[in-house]
Symmetry: C2
Subunit: 255 residues, 2 copies
């Protein structure tokens, strides 16, 4: 069975309080997709964060001493640095304009995933608004999944993704920041390979592989489509959490 | 247009010297796919390496002093360590059983991508054979692309992928190690977003996103399918090289 990933038509600009389940159902109908058991819906972080009201007006943020010092050091808005620090457990590296942190959710990313682009404000204050990641992306995915499953009577997975940079390689790629009803890791260890060897390094980051695939279709600019539908995910659905994908700090050679 | 990724049926076990272009054309016909302009074929590294005869019998490898010392330190076959060192520019980290290196091709990976599984030998010597990465994966992709384009009269991309581990996150994901006729990075910097901001961090690792997507369908065990067909890649094809994806060492905070 092929893996088919389809952008949904007609997801409007999201406002705080919007009901994503209803919007996704409408967009699925417009796109001509009837959900089936085993389908997965992948959402860009931005629309989940906006629906959940995670917009912050920088004008109301007062930088701590630590944020002021770090902001001066790396030439970055100290109010934004304050929010980055509030959203993070630990600063791993800094360079001009960028702070690489362990986010409070546990993953490593730049600037705590706080986004300046695609964020609307009101009139002249546009540039003051930034968008934090969802409070609890696994929980957000779970709620959306339950809403869609209840409405459509099928067994689904739902995933929320963001575009992250990486060590060693250029270019952002889509990565899972939360999901429900699907595996994060698929463990093939112990599976005999074609020559009856037992496979060794075969924990597959299946959710991240799908996040990257979905990200390809989302784009990031004016043409962006923030929800995509996936059919043909090749692994069985099960309960899962993005925390499966986090490498324990003590096993990480690159902190 | 949806992104559709399809496993090809009927790729046999590959032997040194096999003509991958012919095998892929046969498999495409069996799968019922007629190539179109803009399609991409993604190949697992293993079949390219095998076709190119990159098998090495460990019984014939003599470890250097350096390999012997490192192998003893991390409890790993010193002959394999010798090959890892030969295939690498630099050792970045070590832990029991694993050497994280900068491969001679420029990317960072574990054990120089040398694979013990899915490698056939003869009789009792099975376990002695290992498989190195292709000499020049961009060049391999280029040759396969030209062969397919010539035979089929269409404009294609061809990519070779491997499963790599990552800093910070668990699970391997498919990554590009070589390609031809397609972009590695897509630069959206300067594109206005929905609110007329200019996007900031928007170099997308498009080839790696597609590699991850293709890897989902390849599996790694007995059911593996080493070639997948992609239709609907959302960015224009152009000439490209996997070297676009390599972060220059001096810009890398995680070496």
């Amino acid at each position: 069975m092929p893996l088919t990933i389809t952008s949904l038509f007609g997801i409007p600009l999201i406002q705080p309080g919007d009901n994503l389940v209803d919007l996704i159902r409408t967009a699925l109908a417009r796109t001509g997709i009837t959900l089936q058991d085993g389908d997965i819906l992948v959402l860009a972080q931005k629309i989940v964060s906006k629906a959940e009201g995670r917009l912050v007006n920088l004008a109301g943020v007062k930088p701590s001493e630590r944020a002021a010092a770090l902001g001066a050091q790396i030439d970055k808005d100290t109010r934004l640095v304050e929010l980055v620090l509030q959203e993070s457990r630990e600063v791993l590296r800094t360079r001009p304009g960028t702070v690489i942190v362990e986010h409070r959710l546990g993953f490593v990313c730049a600037n705590a995933g706080i986004d300046h682009s695609n964020v609307a404000g009101s009139g002249n204050e546009d540039e003051e608004w930034v968008l934090l990641l969802p409070e609890d992306p696994d929980g957000s995915a779970e709620r959306i999944r339950r809403g869609l499953e209840g409405a459509c009577g099928v067994r689904l997975g739902v995933m929320i993704i963001d575009s992250h940079g990486r060590a060693w390689r250029q270019g952002t790629v889509g990565m899972a920041i939360g999901f429900s009803g699907m595996p994060g890791l698929v463990d093939l260890r112990g599976t005999p390979d074609l020559f009856e060897y037992t496979l060794r390094i075969t924990q597959v980051g299946a959710a991240d592989e799908l996040a990257a695939a979905a990200s390809l279709l989302m784009g990031q600019a004016a043409e962006g489509t923030p929800v995509v539908h996936v059919r043909g995910f090749p692994y069985p659905l099960r309960e899962g959490s993005f925390m499966e994908l986090l490498r324990p700090r003590e096993q990480d050679l690159f902190r």
